[in-house]
Every structure is written in structure tokens, then in C-alpha cells.
């Protein structure tokens, strides 16, 4: 066992209202620069829909992620090392900017500078790539709220697959349709195919917190990572010629703050926490033969932070104490492993993604309520989850490589929670059979409810700071070596300065943590011996 810590995220899709606040704040914080106009480290897609960049899930075309070769070993879908180097002079699988969308601005100057005339001046859209006037035809959320779905919806690769497998149609007729929002950031995978694709070795996974980053000084602009990432969450900065990607807001996270997207999320649907995993088991899990078993395989990679053996091994591996403590309090671990309501996005890419999603129950509840049934009655809900096959199978294409079992289990838990909590809130006697039907106790259901519905800031974001884990070492390194003149009777001889204990020639006003308590005790003690 080789335990490693990973900062991970869970998003509760039931709560996403598609407001794009996360995208906008992220954009303002990170990609509000020339060369990155078309880049959204965080984007929110309406599903069914093509996503951003268009049809990024079509891996027959973009060749992202891993696949198994004939011997059952992992291999990059876009080709191995030799093929990559031989084809380094161009990358046929690289999306062009226009596959994302052509970024534009408006000719605002015309509004003030236009000569006097009979027509009102207008600000025409101008391409930010070539500076010429352009027709706006697509953008990162062009098909927001199913806009144009009758025309574009069929192009969703997951709709295509659902139709292949379920033989029935996902309908885009107005009364029969369904939709939900899918916010996406970099998955910070355990088995990142972008890192594996980088010929320069500029991309890396941080060993302390698992955040996947691009070393801007070592990136040489070969663009293989863009192809390698099946989620298309590595972007090419067309001005600097370097790859850039979501950084999990590491400067904030290191200081114990949540990522910008989490912090500003209006629906408070994001959870951040530490997950412990066994690095030795990653490759094995990623090479699971049947792609439908990948979800379970990834769960097996995670370690139980309460297990004494795990704690011992983690300590030996150098994971700091407060990280272990955070792992035990981690909402992500609870939602992923304890309650098993969160699911990974596209496990079939074999990258073991670490941003997980709680599938949306709302379309089911709404559909029930519209047909005149009680949308929160457990019996109705359980039945409805199965009869509304299309959403279930569509969700399964997204979250479990097409296996509806885990999606149904997750939705049933959410349905049981709604039903149980309704009884509690209405003062009815809760039926213990409802939680039991999904393998939970009433207590567990209420705990899950607390986490999903009313968890406060500190419960949603359990982030150990980088510095505290290292505090002792940092403190030691920050303390100055003893002054060279500070020998007995020397000119730098210690002692009180002219204005008391803290005055004089002390070089750093730094008090080691241990001494802080000693100092306080000395200042507050009545008796000298107590000190």
C-alpha cells in the first residue's frame, strides 16, 4: 500500500441552476488574458448537448484518454511514445479554436467615433483571432437550456450512444424532453492521460495534493496534452504557445480557501475534500477489462481514512496529520465512498477522474409531479426512476459507462432521502422500510441529508492548508541561525534591549509555536515555578 492524498470535488447536480457564476468568476480570475479568450477552465454545459468543445466526448474522433491493447495493458488512445514522437510535427487530432468557438469582441469604438448620420451606429462583432468582422455562430454555451436542441441535440455523442444501446429515442420534442446542467472543470485524474501524453514532461501531478499542473517553463507547445485529455480540459494558449489548464486554484487551496468556482457557487453544490488512495492500485484499476467495472474499481483504489492500518501507512508515507484528519472529515469521501451517491464522469476513459457528480433526481421528480402523482412518495419515486428509462440510461452513459445499476442506486438513495425527510418534516412517523430499501439506516439518511442540504461552508470545504502540514519544518527554516556575535560576553550577547524584552537587535520578531505557550504561561503565571 502506498497511500497518497488527493484534493477532490463532488458536485450535486440537483442543485445546479445553470447560472454560470462559476464559469464567469473562474474566467475573471484565471483566463481573462489575451491568448486565452476562448478558454473556460470551468464551463457549464446543458445536457443533452454537444458540450464544449463541440462533441468532445466523441473519442473516435479526438482520441482522448486510455484504452486497453490486445494484451490488456493500458495504452494512450492517441498512440504510444514512438507514434507521438514520429508525429510530433503536427497533431491531426488537435481541436482548432473554432471547435471551441471563435472568440470575439465588439467594435465599441464605432459607437462614439461614427460620423454623424441618419442611422444609429452599431458595435459590430469583431473576431479576436484575425480582427475582422465576423458572424457569431457558436460559443461555449451556445446550446444553453437546450437552445437549438431540435437541431443540435442529436449531435450529442452520449445521445447517439444511448440511442444505440436503448434502441429508443431521446426525444427533443418540447413536452417530452429533459435537461440538466453539468458544470465541468479539470478532473485532476489519478491516471492522467494528459500528463502521460506530454513529450516534454512539463505536466505533472503534485504528489502532496494530486493537483495536475503544467510547468510553464518546461512546456514546449507540442500540444499532445490537448489531445490526450478526453475531457478536453487542457487548453492551448495561442499567444504564448503553451498549454494551460485548471489549477484547482492551488494558490487558494494551499491557503485553505476553496476554489473560486466553489466559493462563488450560488447553488452551493460543490464539495471539496481530501481523498486518500492507494497509488499502487491505480494502474490495476485503470486496466479493468470491462469498462462498466471501472466505477467499482476506482472505489477500490480509495482508502478508508478511519482504518488504523491506512493511518499508519499514510503517516509513514509522510502525509501530514492534519491532512489525515481532513480526510476523515472529508465530505467528498462521505459522498463517494460512504453513501455512494456520487459518480465519476466518464470512467470509461480510464483516467480515474477525481471530480465526481451526484446525478440529478429533479427531472424524475418534476416529471412525476406533472403527471399528477406525488413526486416525493417513495413508492412512486422508486417506480418512476425505472420507468423514465431514457434519463437513467443517458445518465449512465455519462457516469458509469452505460451501466444503469449505480445510477439507479444513487437516485434511489436520493429518493429515499427525500421521502424520509418529508415524513420527518411533516411530523409523520418515518417508515424505516424506506431507508432500508436502499441499504441505509434512518440515521445515515439524516446525516446524508445534512451534508447535501444544509452543510455550511466549513462542512462543504474541508481543506487542509499546505503550510500547516509543513509548519514545523517551515518554522525551523524561517528561524535565523544563532547570531555569530551572540556568544557569551560578545557584542551581540543576548539579553533585553534598552526598551524591554522585545527591543534591541533581535533579527526576526518570530516566536516558535512551542515558545508561544511557554511565553504566555510565563506572562500569566502567578508562581515562577509553574512556568
Amino acid at each position: 500500500m502506498r497511500p497518497m492524498a488527493q484534493l477532490a470535488m463532488v458536485m450535486n447536480l440537483d442543485k445546479c441552476i445553470g447560472c454560470h457564476t462559476c464559469s464567469v468568476t473562474c474566467k475573471q480570475a484565471w483566463t481573462n488574458r489575451r491568448g486565452m479568450e476562448y478558454v473556460w477552465f470551468n464551463n457549464v454545459e446543458t445536457r443533452p448537448g454537444q458540450g464544449y468543445p463541440r462533441r468532445y466526448e466523441d473519442q473516435d474522433r479526438w482520441r482522448g484518454g486510455w484504452e486497453l491493447n490486445r494484451r490488456g495493458a493500458l495504452k494512450l488512445k492517441a498512440g504510444g511514445r514512438l507514434k507521438k514522437l514520429a508525429g510530433i510535427f503536427s497533431n491531426p487530432r488537435l481541436p482548432e479554436i473554432k471547435d471551441y468557438y471563435e472568440p470575439w469582441t465588439y467594435d465599441y469604438k464605432n459607437l462614439t467615433d461614427a460620423p454623424l448620420g441618419t442611422d444609429y451606429p452599431v458595435a459590430r462583432p469583431v473576431s479576436q483571432l484575425d480582427g475582422k468582422p465576423m458572424k457569431i455562430a457558436w460559443s461555449s454555451n451556445w446550446d444553453d437550456n437546450l437552445a437549438g436542441a431540435p437541431a443540435h441535440g442529436d449531435l450529442d455523442p452520449m445521445v447517439e450512444r444511448t440511442r444505440e444501446r436503448a434502441a429508443e429515442k431521446v426525444r427533443f420534442a418540447y413536452e417530452q424532453t429533459f435537461m440538466f446542467y453539468l458544470p465541468r472543470i479539470c478532473e485532476h485524474c489519478l491516471n492522467p492521460s494528459c500528463v502521460a501524453s506530454c513529450p516534454s514532461g512539463a505536466m505533472y501531478k503534485r504528489s502532496e495534493d494530486g493537483i495536475v499542473l503544467v510547468d510553464q517553463d518546461r512546456c514546449r507547445g507540442w500540444r499532445m496534452c490537448v489531445t490526450g485529455c478526453p475531457y478536453k480540459k487542457v487548453y492551448f494558449n495561442h499567444r504564448t504557445g503553451k498549454a494551460e489548464k485548471c489549477t484547482f486554484c492551488y494558490p487558494r487551496v494551499e491557503a485553505g480557501l476553496p476554489t473560486v468556482c466553489s466559493e462563488t457557487c450560488v447553488g452551493r453544490l460543490r464539495y471539496l475534500g481530501v481523498v486518500l488512495y492507494d497509488a499502487d492500485r491505480v494502474t490495476g484499476a485503470a486496466s479493468t477489462p470491462d469498462e462498466r467495472d471501472l466505477y467499482e474499481a476506482q472505489l477500490d483504489v480509495f482508502l478508508d481514512p478511519a482504518d488504523p492500518a491506512v493511518i499508519r501507512a499514510a503517516k509513514e508515507a509522510g502525509i501530514p496529520y492534519d491532512w489525515l484528519q481532513a480526510a476523515r472529515r472529508s465530505p467528498v469521501h462521505a459522498l463517494v465512498s460512504t453513501y455512494r451517491v456520487a459518480l465519476p464522469l466518464h470512467p470509461e476513459y480510464r483516467t480515474l477522474p477525481m471530480v465526481w457528480y451526484i446525478p440529478p433526481l429533479s427531472p424524475v421528480v418534476d416529471a412525476l409531479a406533472e403527471t399528477g402523482h406525488d413526486g416525493e412518495d417513495a413508492g412512486n419515486l422508486f417506480g418512476a426512476i425505472d420507468t423514465l428509462r431514457i434519463p437513467l440510461e443517458y445518465l449512465a452513459e455519462l457516469f458509469t459507462a452505460g451501466d444503469v445499476g449505480p445510477v439507479r442506486a444513487s437516485l434511489e438513495k436520493l429518493a429515499a432521502m427525500r421521502s424520509h425527510m418529508r415524513s420527518v418534516n411533516l411530523g409523520d412517523e418515518p417508515d424505516p422500510a424506506v431507508p432500508a430499501a436502499v441499504g441505509m439506516t434512518p440515521g445515515e439518511v439524516e446525516d446524508m441529508y445534512r451534508l447535501l442540504a444544509i452543510a455550511k461552508y466549513e462542512e462543504r470545504y474541508v481543506i487542509p492548508t499546505a503550510a500547516v502540514g509543513d509548519a514545523r519544518r517551515l518554522e525551523e527554516s524561517a528561524l535565523p541561525e544563532a547570531c555569530s556575535l551572540d556568544y557569551d560576553g560578545g557584542p551581540g550577547m543576548g539579553g533585553d534591549g534598552p526598551f524591554g524584552q522585545d527591543s534591541g537587535r533581535r533579527r526576526l520578531p518570530l516566536v516558535p509555536v512551542e515558545n508561544f505557550h511557554i511565553l504566555r504561561r510565563r506572562q500569566t503565571a502567578d508562581d515562577e515555578r509553574e512556568v
Partner: protein, 240 residues
């Protein structure tokens, strides 16, 4: 003049190359990139770029063989002068045609695709002129004399090139060389000198280590990056 061109310029070019690479590595690693324009336009590039790069790599191999394999070695292998000439003529011309066709397409693409043209700097333009000039001059020099055994550069240019490495440049060897070859050689040396100062620098980051490194790279946080950063040079705070 002879001494300057064939005794000084080669060393100056080499010095500029090395100094430039060191400077770039120390102070401008962020700018050390291919500056790919593929995200603007992919279709033409997917054909033109491999054609040019493979062509120019073969050209490079050809130059290495021509300049650094003495005639006596090939003679010892039983390769006659005429066979060698044919091999060098056809092989070299094929590689040269690939390179010229590739760079032709690339320049056409750069000129006609508006976003690509907009991302082209003055430095790029100068580099293109020099690169294209060197390639075309080389082709012209080679094709200007194809009769019989052709111009035997292995009796003059190659020994001169080798003499550079033992620090005893035999500049006299270059005096009788046809002008086209001379101009080509000078253009080549200027190009070598300019490599680190243009986007051509990406040739020195050929990622061969990719073949042997583990797929997933782990790196730990730089401990110096925790906590406040040290003051930048020239901005150190006066005592507190």
C-alpha cells in the same frame, strides 16, 4: 575576407549559438516553445508541417554525411565517386524538394490565413527569409552542376568544415569553391547563429526523453514557494 568568412564567422556563429541557448535557457524558458499556430488552422498544417520537418531532417542528415564522412571512408566501402554523387544528388534533391515544398506550403498558409498572419512577428518574417534563402541556395548550388561527378565538395568544403573542429581552419580550401556554395555556406552559418534568437530554438527541445520516462510524472511542491516570496531583485525592502 577569406579569413573572416571561413575562419572567423564559423566560430562566431557557434559562439552565438551556444551563448544564445544558455541565455534563453536561463532567462527565457517561458518563451522557449514551438509557438504552434495549429489551433488557428489545422488542415494545411497537417500536411505541410510533417513534409517540411521530415524533409529538413533528411537534409540535415545529408549535410552531416557529406561534411563529416571523408571520401576515403566511402571509398574504403567500395562506393565509387560516381555512385556517391548519384546518391547525394537524388537523395539530396528528394530531401530538398520535400523541405522546399513543405516550407512553401507553410509560407502560403502563413500569408493567406488571417489569424496565422496576425500571429507572425517581425522576427518570424526575418527567420523565414533566411531559412528559405538558405534552403533555396543549397538546392541551387547542388543542381547547378549535375553533369558527370558534379561539384566535388568533398575535396574542399568538407575538409574545411572538419578542420574547424580541430581549431585549425584551412580557409584556403574555400577559395576556389563556386560562389553559390559559398553564399549557401554563409547563409547557413548566419542561420545557425540566429537559431536561439528565433522560434527555431524549438529544435533543441526535441523530447527524446519521452521514450524512457514513466508515463505519469509526479512532482512535489517547491518548498520555497510556500509562504511569502523573496523580494525581487532591485525591490528588496529596506529593513523593517
Amino acid at each position: 575576407m577569406t579569413v573572416f568568412l571561413w575562419g572567423v564567422l564559423p566560430y562566431a556563429a557557434f559562439a552565438l549559438l551556444v551563448a544564445g541557448l544558455v541565455w534563453r535557457h536561463r532567462y527565457d524558458r517561458f518563451g522557449w516553445t514551438t509557438r504552434s499556430s495549429q489551433v488557428y488552422e489545422s488542415k494545411l498544417l497537417n500536411i505541410a508541417s510533417p513534409v517540411f520537418h521530415y524533409g529538413i531532417l533528411f537534409v540535415l542528415v545529408g549535410h552531416l554525411v557529406g561534411l563529416f564522412v571523408p571520401a576515403s571512408w566511402t571509398g574504403a566501402l567500395g562506393v565509387s565517386e560516381y555512385t556517391y554523387h548519384l546518391f547525394s544528388l537524388y537523395g539530396g534533391t528528394a530531401a530538398g524538394v520535400l523541405a522546399v515544398a513543405g516550407i512553401g506550403m507553410l509560407i502560403y498558409r502563413r500569408r493567406t490565413k488571417a489569424p496565422v498572419l496576425r500571429a507572425t512577428t517581425a522576427n518570424d518574417k526575418a527567420m523565414y527569409v533566411l531559412l528559405l534563402g538558405a534552403i533555396v541556395l543549397g538546392m541551387a548550388a547542388k543542381l547547378s552542376d549535375t553533369s558527370g561527378d558534379g561539384y566535388d565538395y568533398r575535396g574542399t568544403i568538407a575538409p574545411w568544415a572538419r578542420s574547424l573542429f580541430i581549431l585549425r581552419p584551412q580557409t584556403g580550401l574555400m577559395e576556389g569553391v563556386p560562389v553559390l556554395y559559398q553564399v549557401h555556406a554563409v547563409a547557413g552559418m548566419v542561420l545557425i547563429a540566429l537559431v536561439p534568437y528565433t522560434r527555431l530554438v524549438h529544435m533543441f527541445s526535441a523530447p527524446v526523453q519521452y521514450l524512457v520516462r514513466p508515463y505519469v510524472v509526479y512532482r512535489s511542491r517547491d518548498p520555497r514557494q510556500l509562504g511569502p516570496r523573496p523580494d525581487r531583485r532591485g525591490w528588496e525592502r529596506a529593513g523593517s
